[in-house]
């Protein structure tokens, strides 16, 4: 797949169809692949990568890139195309300036899961089908690929590309995912247990803002969390209130627009399961206002910018047993 993609990129660059290519390149270690912009064939030959660690959703980079002159090529995995559509519906991307190449995806790997088995000091990784071979400074290991898949890939909602100009690989389908199971588990706890659960998770937050920065839905030019006078920009004097507040507001701001792309949980250095907050909103929206998948249809009206006269009253929440 990687070679096919490289050739496609070089072909479109050579023909002048696109000015730049947004893809992935190697980072410091073999497993920290990072997003990159390529502008010529040489850069692509030397750096372009598509492998198990290309989790990064490239759609957000289009906001800046697609404002420049000329067209850009972007490679999008199925889940990324939902974010792309959502950004289109929010008028953040100029569709004419983007050439979307959809790439099929058989799940991305979570390096933290591998580290849990092999420890630190990974120097080489290679995967063939079902197995991943890992070489560390101390030993060699073989791991089942299925056991190392990222959470969002285990619970993948769709392998279907909802937007593309060209597709490399097969057109996938919307999947029957179990992504709400864990949310339900938390809902079934007592209020005290829930409070404990979230204190334990959210108190680890170091307010690095990575979850906000990576999120395609969190693309406000001016973010409330950047307001120095708000009293909640700085971790040192923070109390539990501030942690709760940050997370409620972040999740609320993306409610109805979050496509569940899973980027926030992927980048959190503290391993906080942010998807469980986002999915709570998605689940509530589905049950209260009818099934809605953000990004599925760029023309659709979002659930928080629409209403029906028969919507349930807030008492369904406040009066429930």
């Amino acid at each position: 797949m990687q070679e096919v993609m490289k050739n496609k990129a070089k072909e479109l660059l050579a023909s002048g169809e696109v000015r730049a290519v947004i893809g992935w390149k190697k980072g410091e270690f073999c497993y920290d692949i990072t997003p990159a912009v390529f502008t010529n064939a040489e850069e692509i030959d030397n750096g372009f990568i598509y492998d198990d660690f290309c989790g990064a959703n490239l759609s957000k980079y289009l906001i800046k890139e697609a404002h420049k002159d000329g067209k850009v090529l972007v490679f999008l995995k199925p889940c990324d195309t939902y974010s792309f559509n959502q950004l289109l519906s929010e008028h953040r991307i100029n569709r004419e300036k983007v050439y979307v190449v959809g790439v099929s995806c058989d799940g991305k790997v979570d390096i933290e899961k591998i580290k849990r088995t092999v420890g630190d000091g990974i120097i080489a990784l290679s995967s063939d089908g079902d197995k991943i071979s890992v070489e560390t400074l101390y030993d060699k290991y073989e791991i089942n690929r299925a056991d190392a898949l990222a959470e969002r890939c285990v619970n993948c909602k769709s392998k279907k590309h909802v937007a593309y100009d060209e597709l490399l690989g097969d057109e996938g389908e919307v999947l029957d995912s179990k992504r709400f199971d864990e949310v339900e588990m938390i809902e079934n706890m007592t209020a005290d247990e829930r409070f404990e659960f979230w204190r334990n998770e959210l108190s680890r937050c170091i307010r690095c803002n990575a979850c906000r920065n990576v999120c395609p839905a969190c693309s406000c030019e001016k973010c409330i969390f950047d307001n120095d006078n708000s009293g909640y920009v700085n971790k040192a004097p923070v109390t539990s209130f501030e942690e709760n507040m940050f997370h409620i507001i972040r999740a609320f701001h993306v409610a109805g627009r979050c496509t569940d792309c899973g980027e926030c949980s992927r980048v959190c250095p503290q391993g906080i399961p942010l998807h469980l907050l986002n999915r709570k909103f998605i689940k509530d929206i589905n049950t209260l206002y009818g099934d809605y998948q953000a990004g599925e249809d760029p023309e659709a009206r979002g659930p928080l910018t629409s209403y029906t006269e028969k919507d349930p009253e807030p008492s369904v929440v406040t009066d429930k047993e």
């Binding site: 709760n244 907050l277 008492s315 929440v317």
Partner: protein, 144 residues
Amino acid sequence: MQVNEFKPKIVAFCCNWCSYAGADLAGTNRLNYPADVKIIRVPCSCRVNPLFVLRAFQRGADGVIICGCHPGDCHYTTGNYYARRRMTLLFSMLDYLGIEKERTRVEWVSAAEGAKFAATMNDFVATVTKLGENKRLEDLRCKK
């Protein structure tokens, strides 16, 4: 010996066109409701940003109630429909985080419903009094 009875601090966001007038009517009719209810007048129930609710808790509120015109009667036609979805989702999230959902409420009160306003506030204050002080969403930095 003096017993310090817990009196909850309640913030009530009331829309200008219906509920605030309802509160006024409750006053002119000399209907009783606890003085611990602090009314904040907003142009419409949909003016209430979820942050306002959290801010109120941060600054020491024990309960937050949002009052607006009855659905269909909003002065701006549709404001309260949006508020209804927003607040439902916010309250559900608070509940999900283990924060007592009984501390939050939305009630539709028209300008003619002075009695309903007083009854609603009495009931809400009673509920929050039973829950006691807001501990789960307080900001110690704001405590004097």
